[in-house]
């Protein structure tokens, strides 16, 4: 069975997000004074084969920890959906 995971990675609240501050300042210069806060993170779509949803969840958690995030500074959340077989 194929599954599609959307993984959203952002800095932990305790970690300064310099990129977000830079973008906010640029938006203010472009007349978007109504913008209060900007957080920038990474976004992954991972398509994978798995025997069932439980296996897919386990794989997503372990591959994310192994390669997609810096566990010291970043946190993540994800959603998962089964992908119907084509044809």
């Amino acid at each position: 069975m194929q599954y599609l995971a959307h993984i959203y990675v952002s800095y932990k609240p305790s970690v300064l997000d310099p990129q977000g501050e830079v973008i906010k300042a640029a938006l203010h210069r472009l007349a978007y004074q109504n913008v209060r806060e900007v957080v920038q993170g990474k976004y992954f779509e991972v398509r994978l084969e798995a025997a069932d949803e439980e296996q897919a969840v386990d794989d997503v958690k372990s591959l994310t920890a192994a390669l997609l995030i810096n566990q010291n500074t970043e946190t993540y959340h994800f959603d998962l959906q089964a992908v119907p077989e084509e044809g």
Copy 2:
């Protein structure tokens, strides 16, 4: 009224995603042969003041086009939620 937008930016399907290919190859080396495809993109959380939801949607669309994406190679989608006043 305050609104929180989640903006997801990824490459247009027609554009090669070298970063996604690199990550897929690395996951295969880490024994995740069941991964079929990886797409990497950017993820923004933007908190902004707006008179109403319609104004917030307009602002999110225009600030995204103005600063957050490369309109030639990237596409985006977003969701928006009203943020209850604190206190």
